[in-house]
């Protein structure tokens, strides 16, 4: 193992790719993301609904405040690295990417279709900006350890963010990676666990209890921050704490609710893997302050001519 450099030894990031949006704008973006999720699922009639909705708020905070990226140049050398180990939440991943400008919003309407480039699970081969494919649970944190290790080797200040699921914590590979990152003191690495308390077969604590989860991560030598995953102020504070912490990786245990934002989906595990039927989607979108007609039109209107929402170039929107 190479001698340990903590990120304190290296230069601060060239952060031109961070949007640093304030909480109110993030809340508005998170609402758009939820509208995107429901709309694209209503269109595809296949895919996961519950997890994507629980990731929407901290996801917006990650993409529109925290991450230093350049959607116009996904391989921008200065970029931070982000990875969803829970590949099944593609609706929120693709929405965040499109809203951030990686590709046109209109592409969301081809989710999971043979024609489109948005696969059911993230595919590096198909989608610009997806750096490593995922979909088999438990593998992503190891990938992020490798990325953080490369950054340390190159004395690069890049930060590395890995989104995991709470059911996913049952995979042993997560704990192999946790042990490695704690041992190697990878403080450029930040894990985020979407603690929505549900998985496919029901309540996580009934299926296979993962509690006490904070004790587990601490016992694997991580810095642990617990926060309300739907309160963007709390999420921003958690990100700041992670960024400031030296000598240990940080895991943010984001307390969320599966299906958050739609009354009849909230906290119901049966929404893990099914899309809303057209009438359910209409109902959901009404709760989210729009309609399928309106929102699908907004998505289809963006064919990439102008960068969508928050723009592509790093300097944009500072």
């Amino acid at each position: 193992m190479s001698p340990v450099h903590t990120s304190s030894d290296v230069q601060p990031a060239h952060a031109a790719g961070r949007l640093l949006w304030p909480a109110d704008r993030l809340r508005a973006k998170a609402l758009d993301v939820r509208r995107d999720i429901v709309t694209l699922l209503a269109r595809s009639q296949t895919g996961h609904t519950g997890g994507p909705l629980s990731c929407a708020d901290f996801g917006a905070a990650l993409f529109f405040h925290e991450l230093n990226v350049n959607p116009a140049d996904p391989a921008w050398p200065e970029r931070d690295f982000w990875h969803f180990s829970i590949g099944h939440v593609t609706p929120v991943i693709y929405s965040l990417m499109a809203e951030r400008g990686y590709f046109p919003l209109a592409d969301l309407m081809q989710f999971r279709s043979f024609a489109g480039h948005l696969q059911g699970h993230p595919s590096h081969h198909d989608t610009p900006g997806i750096e490593v494919s995922s979909g088999s649970l438990g593998q992503g944190l190891s990938v992020c350890c490798g990325v953080a290790l490369a950054a340390r080797l190159d004395q690069h200040p890049r930060r590395v963010y890995c989104v995991m699921g709470d059911g996913e914590q049952q995979e042993g590979q997560i704990w192999e990676a946790a042990m490695f990152a704690g041992h190697a003191k990878l403080d450029q690495l930040c894990g985020i666990v979407d603690c929505n308390r549900k998985q496919i077969d029901g309540d996580v604590e009934q299926v296979m209890g993962i509690q006490p989860l904070a004790d587990k991560w601490r016992a694997f030598r991580w810095n642990v921050v617990v926060c309300d995953g739907h309160d963007v102020d709390a999420v921003l504070a958690a990100f700041a704490a992670a960024r400031a912490h030296r000598g240990q990786p940080t895991v943010i245990l984001a307390q969320t609710v599966m299906g958050q934002g739609v009354s009849f989906m909230a906290d119901d595990y049966r929404w893990h893997g099914k899309p809303p039927k057209p009438d359910q989607a209409e109902h959901a979108l009404r709760e989210l302050g729009t309609s399928y007609a309106e929102w699908s039109a907004r998505l289809l209107a963006d064919r990439g001519d102008a960068a969508a929402g928050a723009g592509a170039a790093p300097q944009d929107d500072r």
């Binding site: 595809s44 296949t46 895919g47 590949g87 999971r112 279709s113 043979f114 489109g116 948005l118 696969q119 059911g120 699970h121 595919s123 081969h125 198909d126 494919s133 995922s134 979909g135 088999s136 649970l137 438990g138 059911g167 996913e168 049952q170 995979e171 042993g172 998985q199 496919i200 077969d201 299926v207 296979m208």
Partner: protein, 324 residues
Amino acid sequence: MTAITLPAQVEMKKTREGFGRALVRLGELDPRVVVLVGDLSESTMVNFFAEQFPDRFFQIGIAEQNMTGIAAGLAAMGKIPFFATYGAFASCRAADQLRVTVAYTNLNVKIGGAHGGISVGPDGATHQAMEEISIIRAIPNMSMIVPCDYWETYKATLAAAKHPGPVYLRFGREDVPVVTDEDTPFAFGRGEVFAEGSDLTIVACGVMVYEALRAREALEERGISARVVDLHTVKPIDAALIERCARETGAIVTAEEHQVNGGLGGAVAEVVVKTHPAPVEMVAVMDRFGQSGKPAELMDAFGLRARDIVAAAERVLPRKTARA
């Protein structure tokens, strides 16, 4: 030989449902039968068993390696454990556990691998298991069955419980044509001739058996007589039947919803070159990953249709005469 003739309207049913129903039957027949699942109760249809026999049903969560080992421990104590997950994880995520703990010990563990093949559809490549035959064939003591429809899956599941030692069962995700019925003969390790023919033999497994029967009809119209073999048990392989088909028909087309390297086509090729060398054409996934799409779209795009079998037959026949 069991002649199978397809009606115009074929009933459609999921193979994995045959698995789920058979498990309930086994639960009634044998108290030693227990079922484990890795957070996929409905997808693998073990929920039927769970409702009937909650005490003999074990939820393991998302931990396929552990599930494989727990099944091994249950088997070591005389239980007959069936564990179920998606084939991608049953075959790959726990391959070392299958090899060392299950197969080397030769424990009586049964594996239900759902969602095999490109027809899994919109989930895309990660969830389209297409390497299981190659992996399981390589591990000593393992057996493997790839049933063609609901009824054959039902029988294969019962047969797996009877067969001592580890058995891997492969299912698809979609409704597929029911080509057999409750009375169609099924014997572990023995291929079934579903249609006689003299010009070539189509050896198929899984949903491709239906495509093979359709291909046979199309070939018949062109005056080509194709034999159709349902080779449900891919390990141990029915070498005697394959040799006989190679000798009697002189040409073979294999058809599988699986990677071309080391799968059914490879298993047949190995028998053919060792016994009666004959030209073989393979209809399979050509060493590429899958993608999202509708099951039907993907079966078309990946060349896994009756017409692809017909085309392969037309490629193999001239090669045959060239050698005659």
